[in-house]
């Protein structure tokens, strides 16, 4: 499982993933773990089913890492996203950024999750008390500079 970018049906292990990117020169590792929560827009969520177009999602993760590398040279990134049925409290995504200093690690971690939400071909199918619904967020356009600028802005504030 020693790959920096992964789509998997298996549970995610944040500590193992941070081990993939941290080197002796790194003084900081920032980890973001996205969890399945039990409520959404007033509904009681029971579980989520995640679907991905895996080969394209991996290319999107690589693009995100390339973008991060251009803005924060030297920072290394890993992105693992889970698919299939996830229960409340389980990790759906783990993002790890390793850097010599904390500022860049935090920034890249935030940038990466914003970009995942914008351009990764992954979907949540929400099963809630009373029904089910596909969640549809951003129209994926990797070339949309406005979206990228928004992710950069969020990463740097």
């Amino acid at each position: 499982m020693a790959v920096r970018f992964l789509i998997t049906d298996d549970p995610l292990d944040a500590a193992a993933i941070s081990g993939l990117v941290a080197t002796a020169g790194d003084g900081a590792v920032a980890t973001f773990v996205g969890l399945v929560r039990d409520h959404n827009v007033g509904r009681r969520v029971l579980w989520l089913d995640y679907e991905a177009y895996a080969p394209l999602a991996l290319k999107a993760f690589e693009q995100i890492a390339d973008e991060a590398q251009a803005s924060w040279p030297g920072v290394r990134l890993a992105i693992h996203h889970r698919t299939g049925r996830l229960e409340i409290g389980e990790a759906s995504v783990v993002i790890v950024a390793a850097s010599a200093h904390r500022g860049e690690a935090f920034a890249v971690c935030r940038y990466a999750i914003e970009r995942v939400k914008q351009i990764a071909p992954i979907w949540k199918h929400e099963h809630f008390d009373g029904g089910e619904q596909w969640i549809e967020g951003a129209t994926a356009d990797p070339a949309d500079e406005t979206a990228r600028a928004l992710a950069l802005e969020r990463a740097c504030t």
């Binding site: 996205g34 995640y50 679907e51 991905a52 177009y53 080969p55 394209l56 999602a57 290319k59 999107a60 996203h81 759906s92 995504v93 999750i113 995942v116 939400k117 914008q118 351009i119 990764a120 071909p121 992954i122 979907w123 949540k124 199918h125 596909w134 969640i135 549809e136 967020g137 951003a138 129209t139 994926a140 356009d141 990797p142 070339a143």
Partner: protein
């Protein structure tokens, strides 16, 4: 020419199929493939410009020309994370 159309998430549910094989005229674009699918499954038409497309597992524009044997995927707005 022959192309494979892949549909994801709610698009798949609306069409009732994850993968469709379709004949398209030569020089057809991703837009032509989408138009053909929405004629077949009118429930997809409301997606309009909120759908993204990919050709052979890379993001593409709707103006991209397709070739025999290509795989074109249509993606509803994403919600990963």
């Amino acid at each position: 020419m022959h192309v494979t159309v892949r549909l994801f998430a709610r698009l798949r549910d609306v069409a009732g199929a994850a993968e469709l094989s379709r004949q398209l005229p030569d020089r057809a674009t991703a837009r032509d493939a989408w138009d053909a699918i929405t004629r077949e499954f009118p429930g997809l038409a409301s997606y309009g410009s909120s759908v993204s497309c990919a050709v052979n597992e890379s993001y593409a524009r709707f103006t991209t020309e397709l070739h025999d044997g290509d795989e074109v995927a249509f993606l509803p707005p994403v919600s990963g994370g």
